[in-house]
């Protein structure tokens, strides 16, 4: 119980630090969001003081000293009030985020789970059949895929399957004629549009799971209890799965938890290449449009999801492996 409480305390402390970092970042940087917005206005003509004050008021630029700003900011975060977006003015940031979240959650979430399951199984197989082609093929191709810039893989798939062979749509989450609903036709259309980004993310993340599982598995295969199980004449598959894999999977589970936390952040580059309207694409647009409120809210949300995933993994880990509860 003290283990769980300590983890929870550390989580709250980290959460506070992350929220504070998000507050401090824009204030540590040269220039202010209002300056950026006014600079854009200034391209159309000179900006006088009154306009400047009006812009600042409209964008909700904080006033008061740093401490007052910080307290006001904490209150806003608690109320999930992140102000209005600059690029999609006057849409509130929270609405934009809520609109993009489902696409990312479904797409990246499904791919992450699938890649983890397939990759881990391949890793078990590779370690168990060490030295054979079942080891060489996934290990070599996996470590090679890991060095590909994954937006490049995305561009290649887009080029061949999208443009050359016209097999898949090249951007968007559904056909321009469709309206989001839970009808069979719309879901099919959405899956069709999600196929290319899904394949990209699956291919580029698979290698990590394979290699991680293989290496951990090889370590456990050298342990005495595995040798003992083999000497007792248990079947190979039983030894591999019940004895070795069960213990070797712990590091991969940690990675899986973190990857699930990363789901909310989406896959920024992949979503950008495929024009897929999820969180990553929204962040990209916020960045291009210097939409600071949107950018800050997205960064905070992505960070918090990773922190929460981390906490859950820590607690699970403590339950699964008593040795960590020191």
């Amino acid at each position: 119980m003290t283990y769980a409480l300590r983890k929870l305390g550390l989580f709250l402390l980290t959460l506070w630090a992350a929220v504070t970092l998000n507050f401090a970042l824009p204030r540590m940087m040269p220039g202010s969001p209002a300056d950026a917005a006014i600079a854009r206005l200034a391209q159309n003509g000179p900006v006088n003081e009154a306009t400047r004050a009006a812009v600042e008021a409209q964008l909700g630029i904080p006033d008061g000293n740093l401490l007052e700003q910080y307290i006001a900011y904490l209150g806003q975060v608690l109320r999930l009030d992140f102000g209005v977006s600059y690029t999609f003015y006057p849409e509130p940031v929270s609405g934009l985020v809520a609109g993009a979240l489902p696409y990312t959650l479904v797409l990246v979430g499904a791919v992450t789970v699938l890649a983890f399951v397939v990759g881990t199984l391949l890793g078990v197989l590779a370690a168990w059949r060490r030295g054979s082609w079942a080891d060489a093929l996934p290990t070599v191709s996996g470590s090679f895929m890991n060095t590909f810039p994954y937006f490049w893989t995305a561009l290649l798939l887009l080029f061949f399957l999208g443009y050359v062979f016209n097999l898949f749509p090249t951007s968007g989450a559904y056909s321009p004629t469709g309206t989001p609903s839970l009808s069979l036709a719309f879901v099919g259309d959405a899956l069709y549009h999600a196929a290319l980004p899904a394949v990209t993310m699956f291919l580029t993340s698979l290698g990590g799971w394979i290699i991680g599982m293989r290496n951990a598995m090889i370590t456990t295969l050298g342990e005495d209890y595995v040798t003992f199980a083999e000497a007792n004449g248990l079947r190979g598959r039983t030894v591999a799965l019940r004895y070795a894999a069960r213990n070797a999977i712990l590091p991969n589970l940690t990675g899986f938890g973190l990857a699930l936390g990363g789901v909310v952040g989406g896959s920024i580059l992949v979503e950008q290449v495929f024009g897929y309207p999820g969180i990553g694409f929204l962040l990209f647009n916020a960045v291009i449009g210097q939409d600071y409120p949107l950018m800050q809210a997205l960064f905070l949300m992505i960070t918090v999801s990773v922190l929460v995933a981390n906490l859950i993994v820590d607690l699970l880990y403590g339950a699964l492996d008593p040795r960590t509860r020191r």
């Binding site: 290990t139 990590g208 991680g212 920024i268």
Partner: protein
């Protein structure tokens, strides 16, 4: 796969922290031996040769490139020809020349950011492993914070704020977001080394802690630090390409990342300018692959257990 099949740790290599690399002071000879071990590994040798080619190309770019990288006086979107081996861009620049000059930034960022991240990791990791008490707890918290905060979004946010900083900002941002994992690995090595006999001996002979950490302990971790460096450099090259591709770097520079950015911007896909899309990505992959291959050799001389670090993400 002969190298990898040897990765199963025997009971001795699990027990000793860094395998054969540990032999106390006098690490220079073990350094030479380490180099021989790396060169003896087939994969690592291939990696060193590829890396060497990239280094030569980057160093001799003005001599090797047929044109200036920003010379846009040529026909636009031209196909490959004798004058332009890889065709020209939408702005009328020679793709091959851009590719050759682009290697300079990737080499610079890979070694610059990778090196900077490694230096931070060494400084933090070793001090952290040696201190105890509340200072250790504070460092622990800071390292954890940097480990958990998602790197790419943080990188993007910082790069946006510092949009006019150029390549040095990119290097700094990548280093700031990339040192924590290395620090953690080095710390665990330090804690296991600090109780060794030669460290105890140094302590009893009245050496200062700073000298013990950086003169006695550090030389025994060269393989781990080298491995960490190649890992950081690979990550840095990919991160730089990603940031430039998003248009967050200095898009007036000629780099492999900005080449892809302009390729995407000018719809190189649709006008059939295939080389502009394929070549920079292939170079990034090859460069990153060469560093990964060298790491196979470095892994061979350090603890196989460390390879667990290459999970997920």
């Amino acid at each position: 796969m002969s190298q990898n099949t040897n990765q199963a740790p025997t009971s001795t290599s699990v027990g000793t922290a860094a395998g054969s690399d540990i032999d106390g002071p006098g690490a220079r000879r073990s350094g030479a031996r380490a180099l021989r071990t790396i060169w003896g590994n087939r994969k690592a040798r291939a990696g060193l040769i590829i890396l060497g080619v990239f280094l030569v190309v980057a160093a001799l770019a003005p001599l090797l490139a047929p044109y200036a990288p920003t010379d846009n006086s040529f026909e636009r979107n031209a196909d490959a020809s004798a004058a332009h081996w890889l065709g020209t861009t939408a702005a009328g620049e020679d793709v091959l020349s851009q590719l050759i000059y682009g290697s300079r930034i990737s080499v610079l960022v890979g070694f610059g950011a990778g090196g900077l991240a490694t230096v931070i990791a060494v400084l933090v990791g070793l001090s952290w492993g040696y201190v105890s008490g509340w200072i250790g707890e504070v460092i622990n918290f800071i390292v954890n914070l940097f480990l958990v905060i998602p790197g790419l979004p943080l990188m993007i946010v910082i790069a946006t704020y510092l949009s006019d900083g150029g390549i040095s900002v990119i290097i700094a941002v990548i280093a700031i977001t990339g040192w924590a994992w290395g620090a953690r690995v080095l710390r665990s090595q330090t804690t296991s080394l600090r109780s060794r006999d030669f460290v105890t001996a140094a302590r009893f002979s009245g050496e200062r802690p700073g000298r013990i950490v950086f003169r006695e302990i550090l030389p025994n971790m060269t393989s781990i630090i080298a491995g960490g460096f190649f890992g950081s450099a690979t990550a840095a090259i990919l991160a730089e390409a990603g940031l430039e591709f998003l248009g967050l770097g200095d898009s007036t520079l000629v780099t492999w990342g900005t080449m892809l950015y302009w390729a995407q911007n000018s719809n190189a896909l649709l006008v059939g300018q295939w080389a502009l899309l394929f070549a920079p990505g292939l170079c990034i992959s090859l460069f990153a692959t060469s560093l990964t291959l060298i790491n196979f050799g470095v892994d061979g001389i350090s603890n196989p257990r460390l390879r667990e670090g290459s999970t997920g993400r």
